[in-house]
Symmetry: C2
Subunit: 556 residues, 2 copies
């Protein structure tokens, strides 16, 4: 432990998460040491037009690069590791994670050509690593991907427990249950601060065990007359195991479709996370010769992703598989908020082609990977922290989780509902938000990171509503007078055949406007804005639409 | 009843509904007579960029105008009456509806300046009207707006029962319960065909009575320390009544905010659908002088609509009301699919400002207006139809509802899951889909109806993803050679300052391309497509984006 005249304060800073605080990245800082927890990406919201990915703003870290002792990863979901190819080359810090996460991060960094320089350290549950003044221990928690960890972090002023993404599950399909006795032990020794997953703080009761899904899958497969197609998340290895088990119970072969699903299954088999009796996994070319009642197909597409295997199957666009009457489809996932319409469209389309479809809400074919209220209360009761920071949730989740903490005996002034960028400073006695650091969204669009900002997005939104009108005026460089009648080209504004008159009227209006200006004023800029104003008024009057108007003056 | 040599068949055609079949409009035709059931609009889906409204395609009706005996309206929700201002001037048929629907349709047609010529006939429950060979009786059903009707239609070949949008509710807040004995009577006399609401065919059990909401509201208001703000649908008059009752029970005044809510409350009071004890309804200017614990505010915004009263309050943008710590907000509605993100953002923002928020999922502050599975079964059992057509639902709802009908004893070949535009022909013995009629979406965008088609929308979608690049090349008319260096203007593509080099590179590429072409070929069209191809390739290589490229050749 460091000894100084004036003790530094412990700082906790959530960075990035599109409203779900600390989901993608958190910073823990004490004196000259920083550790980064997770480094994930978010998928863009509806109004982030054309944006591919969103990553956290790491300005704060770049200014303190020399302090960073390591990046600690809780589990290998995209929203916790997906930003590594972008931030790792800049931060250049060692990574600490469990075995499966190491495997998946390596694949990801290789794709992004960032693997060579990366130092990825595999950490076992129960082992501690020393990162500057921090001692970090990984403990097992249950979640929807194997090898998920929570963190117990010893700091110079006390112990922090970070739950990661977790649920309790006393009968997990793969691996160990969430280690409650380790948490109880930490709690009995005294925990300064608990950071706990709030994703499902709205749900009462307990999240069911993964095991109930196995029974449901087995029943559906046992009753199915034709082929069975199961769609789920590619990373939900335990679900794949359950499908393999059920298929094998009922003498069916499993065929895996969809690139990410195939890659993950291959990796999980090699690393031992997945076990399949010999002969159960079929090769794609065997499918044609296998009778329907002996077939289970596993596919991506549980979120209705347009290019996924299931959606291509539903839309008659898959090379090898199309739905036949008597087929059974199980969508073993629930829609991530925002994906409802895509998922529903896919289900409708499968029904139309005669499939029997089992899906969220109708049958118990999916359980979530996050703790419900009774589990959150149990966590609070075991850990009994002085300070409580609800993480991984939107503000209403943090609020509801905070109430549970209050009920569990945490003092109101010791509960902190942070926002991304908030700097929480902690002493053994009290905590306070003392400032803010940059934490905006960094957009990844195609090859570029961060160049698409407010102006570009605002333009895309404007273009998407009423299209664009390009006005071309050629003027004589010397006299400033137009040398020909103006031209107008539109895209996404009106039907150019039906609305020919409106466009012609616009040209005449521009000709008049420019002539008037040219007599008094040769200034092209002012002509631009006059043309824009006049056309804006004219088009709105005629159509009640406001296209973007782009005057182009060609000087000859 | 008509007697002919060859009996015509009865035709049923659902028109329009954005995937929810027959929701907005249905056509019933026999020989020389047509009746239209409902005439509603849909709100555009996410990818219908810039579109304001979607209305049914009435091509089929326009070609048979002289046959139309009337437009029968089941209830006054937008998705059942909202297209009247657009289609009524074209069809020019009399409208038949209940009293409240008449009031709301009149307001709507007045706004659209289509009231003068309209003939709106108010029909009482239990009374029949004769429309050509059809006899139509309105019977009461419960739904989320008063005066909702189901229809019992006598046709020359048998009786049709249409449920409208309905739920059973033995203890409705306003009006009569769904008239089960009338349905049983019809069933005992023999029903040829049942058209039944499938909106909630996914839900097991019974939809709770509106009355349970009254108790929840009363409890929350009784416990609230500060002001209470209740947001719900403007047309949900019975919910407004429940809020007035609870407020009055606890000595609070009710203030109504939001234009549509105020208009509806005023109309409902005048027509007697709403009752308020003297002094309970407050005027906006009294609000300032009323102590917080005496205030209930009713507002629009339960769907997170950006310009609604609740959202403006949540965003500190309301002139009269802003949230103070201790305020209670009740969002008495559940999000319509697609609105989840907006609703969640509003709730988050209210929590951030210190309000206590009660919302769907957390508390029983809303019940739906549609029947769940047990109610649908009861309907099937009372009516005992020969033919069954599930309506008002997406394909999966129709499928699930069809299964209920099968279980209730309807023969499989007598159940028809239609799609919009399908022509179902019925004889007393059998039914068959014999063809299709136009039933595409007609888009309303600003002033125009129908001119925005596939091309315009495709362009808007393309513009929204990667923006636009306008390339301006001035060429000599005689020689076909460029007279100056090309210019490039972009919007929504890249940051033009950061990516200056890419744009300059593009200009050089265009100059080279156009020079090469000019030597061999004066054809401007081929120059256009060469410029487009070259720039497309170049920009994709540099940015991995595909902006729309619009070459403009100015001939001098």
């Amino acid at each position: 432990m460091q000894q100084r005249q004036i003790k530094p304060k412990l700082k906790l800073i959530p960075l990035g998460g599109l409203g779900e605080i600390g989901k993608n990245m958190m910073v823990l800082e004490y004196g000259e040491d920083i550790i980064v927890i997770d480094s994930g990406l978010m998928f863009p919201e509806e109004d982030m037009m054309g944006i591919d990915l969103v990553i956290p703003d790491i300005t704060y870290l770049l200014e303190r690069k020399e302090k960073i002792r390591g990046i600690v990863i809780t589990h290998a979901h995209e929203d916790h590791i997906g930003a590594l190819p972008y931030v790792l080359p800049q931060l250049n810090a060692p990574i600490y994670c469990t075995r499966l996460a190491k495997g998946l991060i390596s694949v990801k960094l290789k794709e992004g050509k960032a693997l060579n320089k990366a130092k990825i350290n595999e950490i076992e549950y129960g082992k501690s690593i020393t990162l500057g003044c921090f001692k970090v221990e990984f403990y097992p928690v249950c979640h929807s991907i194997p090898d998920t960890a929570g963190l117990i972090i010893d700091t110079p002023i006390g112990t922090i427990v970070h739950t990661g993404d977790f649920k309790l599950d006393y009968t997990p399909v793969y691996g160990e249950p969430t280690n409650l006795s380790r948490l109880a032990h930490a709690g009995s020794k005294g925990v300064l601060m608990l950071l706990s997953d709030s994703t499902h703080a709205e749900r009462t009761g307990y999240t069911p065990s993964e095991r109930v899904i196995g029974e449901a899958l087995d029943l559906i497969i046992s009753r199915a007359k034709g082929r069975v197609i199961v769609a789920t998340f590619a990373s939900l290895i335990s679900r794949v195991q359950q499908v393999i088990d059920a298929a094998s119970n009922h003498g069916r072969k499993v065929f895996v479709f969809g690139r990410s699903m195939s890659d993950n299954v291959k990796m999980a088999l090699e690393m031992g996370y997945l076990k399949a009796p010999p002969g159960v996994l079929g090769r794609a070319d065997e499918l044609r010769h296998t009778p329907s009642e002996k077939v289970v197909i596993m596919a991506t597409g549980s979120q209705g992703e347009p290019t996924s295997a299931l959606v291509r199957i539903a839309n008659h666009a898959h090379r090898q598989v199309s739905i036949a009457s008597g087929d059974t489809v199980i969508v073993s996932a629930s829609p991530i908020p925002g994906n409802e319409a895509l998922v529903n469209r896919t289900i409708d389309s499968l029904f139309k082609q005669g499939a029997e479809v089992f899906y969220h809400g109708l049958s118990q074919v999916h359980v979530h990977g996050h703790a419900s209220q009774e589990e959150l209360k149990l966590m609070l009761n075991l850990v009994r922290p002085k300070f409580f920071v609800p993480i991984h949730g939107e503000f209403r989740h943090l609020t509801l989780h905070s109430r549970l903490a209050l009920d569990a005996g945490v003092e109101e002034q010791d509960i902190f509902r942070l926002e991304d960028g908030d700097v929480l400073e902690i002493t053994p006695k009290s905590g306070k938000v003392t400032g803010r650091v940059p934490s905006g969204h960094v957009y990844v669009d195609g090859l570029s990171v961060g160049d698409v900002g407010g102006v570009v997005l605002r333009n895309r939104r404007m273009l998407s509503r009423d299209g664009i009108v390009v006005v071309i005026v050629a003027v004589n460089q010397q006299t400033g007078k137009p040398v020909s009648h103006p031209d107008i080209v539109t895209r996404g504004f009106v039907d150019t055949v039906e609305c020919k008159d409106i466009i012609e009227g616009g040209k005449d209006l521009v000709a008049k406007t420019v002539n008037n200006i040219a007599k008094n004023d040769n200034d092209v800029a002012s002509a631009d804005s006059r043309v824009r104003d006049e056309l804006n008024r004219y088009f709105f009057e005629k159509t009640k639409r406001r296209p973007m108007i782009l005057p182009v003056v060609v000087k000859i």
